[in-house]
Amino acid sequence: MGLIIKVENLKAVYLVREGTIKAADGISFDVEENSVTAIVGESASGKSTIIEAMTRTLPLNGRLLEGRVLYRQKDLLALNKEELRKIKWKQIALVPQAAQQSLNPTMRVIDHFKDTVEAHGINWSRQELIQHASEKLKMVRLNPEAVLYAYPLQLSGGMKQRVLIALALLLEPEVLILDEPTSALDVLTQSYIIQLLKELKKSLNITLIFVTHDIAVAAELADKIAVIYAGNIVEYNSVFEIFKNPLHPYTKGLMSSIMAINADMSKIKPIPGDPPSLLTPPSGCRFHPRCEHVMEICKKEKPPLLTLEDGAQVACHLYGQGGR
């Protein structure tokens, strides 16, 4: 398995009236072929910004400052629009957040498929289009006859999410990027979507990158987890290692604060304090005001993302330089 995507030192900000929101502050990570990577963080931690910057779909007030996103040695951020269009959807497809609002309410499902195909310069006859769309809809366990000619308002939240996944799979991409695939869905629908993504990954051999705020969802689906805190990756490791032996104090806190059904109820412990505002992030390590192991150096210097001997990556002054 080789690398398929390599993100290097990605920096993005949002311009707002009060100043600049430093939403991605030097993000670097590698994604291997046929793997599932989860980007886990709280709301407003900059996790969606990473995906938006990678796919160049930042909102109007978003600015990419620096960094590279290498997809098979091609820098996506340096490509011009036409070249990028050739890669998008055919090789990298995106399932946007807020799936409930992502479909055009005045268009039937089939027209969404038609639009996508036309936008990418493919000439399919109506028959071919229906055939391809049906095939993809069956993959997400929807009945094509019932769904293809329906308007989005006739579908439930889980069905809309599945239509979007089918739409993203239409041109058979290598990489599927999903922004919060299970938020705003009920417990049962959520588990259904997770099962579905697991199966898709197995049968299609695609690379999945998804963003979630729910670390328990990441536990079910991901091979590797990147934990984001206030615009920085604080830890990047395989899912088994991260759950068995979390390294960063924030990851540790997150693990003991999740109220999962199988957790030991007497050991649940909330993290003290609030997440920082990204308008005026704390100096040094952005987690230091909430950290129980805070040292002098944490207040002054931002810890680099270190790679430890066993391959774990962590950004914390407790590790490195003989620490630990």
């Binding site: 417990v187 969802v217 079910e220 693990m255 109220m259 999962a260 059904i261 957790a263 909330p270």
Partner: protein
């Protein structure tokens, strides 16, 4: 122990259409009781009627049938004055702390204004009391927040402020509708913990409406009751530990088995039961049978015809399912 809220045979039907001819059954014959110092959590998915139930318990909505008692008195037969006296004893915390707080009121005034009204105090005493309440909910140091506005707080902070405001009338019960759904992951446990502390330290009964079954377990595992609601009906009810360790109703089982597990090893090896259908059909007052029958894997003919009632299977554990109770009737 004194009974605080009793809900007895409550049903709610919403009617729509120009002639109000389309009826939707939202709550179906609900019986609940909350006593002083109780913890109760109502668990269900969206559209199951749990918010309506909470609103009816708080007298923000009136039931179509049945009655609601506050401190032993029927609220529909109370006059305005009587209701006002009791109103402060039953407080409601809204779901979204981003819209439930006045954006142009300072944090001090958000708490102080209702306090002035409720307890007729002012000046130093008022200041002292506001400080006390804010410390109760963990907004410390209180003086630091006095002149700030809600937008300076995070979601968790806002929810704490909303809870402090609810405490101004010295309530005997707090009803909170999805208090953690709009709040960051790392702060959720802290809000549930706060409700637990209020219950433990001040003996305030707490009723939470949640869809997060893990949070429901955290809240009720040591003490308290849980009611699982499906299609406007309580399908299983009982002590937290009993329901979560030994779920009996097919819906509760599915709900527990499909909620995410924070352990990659277990999560990969478990088999999640697939339901027959994930759509929830609308119920009308004329609907027959168990509300879960369309999705249940174990249904029998009887389930299509007859709506099961809640019956005890052990001490403090009730289930409404034909397969589990009335064993003497052949199924």
């Amino acid at each position: 122990m004194q009974q605080v809220i009793k809900v007895s045979h409550v049903s709610k039907v919403f009617s729509r259409g120009y002639f109000k001819k389309h009826h939707k059954l939202v709550l179906d014959d609900i019986d609940l009781e909350v006593s002083e110092g109780d913890r109760l959590v109502i668990v269900g998915e969206s559209g199951m009627g749990k918010t309506t139930l909470a609103r009816i318990m708080a007298a923000l909505e009136s039931p179509s049938q049945g009655k609601v008692l506050w401190f032993g008195e029927n609220i529909s037969s109370m006059n305005k004055g009587e209701k006002k006296l009791l109103r402060g004893k039953v407080q409601y915390v809204h779901q979204d702390p981003y819209s439930s707080l006045h954006p142009a009121k300072t944090i001090f005034r958000t708490v102080a204004d209702p306090l002035k009204n409720a307890q007729k105090i002012k000046g130093k005493e008022l200041r002292q009391k506001v400080k006390e309440l804010m410390e109760k909910v963990g907004l410390t140091p209180a003086e630091y927040f006095f002149n700030k506005y809600p937008h300076h707080l995070s979601g968790g902070g806002r929810q704490r402020l909303a809870i402090a405001r609810a405490l101004t009338t010295d309530p005997r019960v707090i009803i909170a509708d999805e208090p953690i759904s709009m709040i960051d992951m790392s702060l959720r446990a802290a809000i549930i913990k706060l409700f637990k502390d209020l219950n433990d330290l001040y003996n305030i009964a707490v009723v939470l409406v949640l869809h997060d079954i893990g949070a429901a377990k955290y809240f009720t595992y040591e003490k308290g009751e849980v009611a699982i609601i499906y299609g406007g009906k309580i399908v299983e009810m009982g002590e937290g530990a009993k329901v979560f360790d030994n779920p009996l109703h097919p819906y509760t089982k599915v709900l527990i088995s499909s909620s995410p597990i924070a352990d990659p090893q277990i999560a990969r090896n478990r088999v999640v039961e697939q339901l027959r259908s994930y759509e929830v059909p609308e119920r009308t007052p004329q609907s027959k049978g168990c509300p879960f029958v369309h999705a249940c894997n174990y249904y029998v003919e009887r389930c299509m015809e007859q709506n099961p009632c809640l019956e005890a299977v052990e001490d403090n554990h009730w289930v409404a399912c034909h397969l589990l109770v009335n064993k003497d009737v052949d199924i």
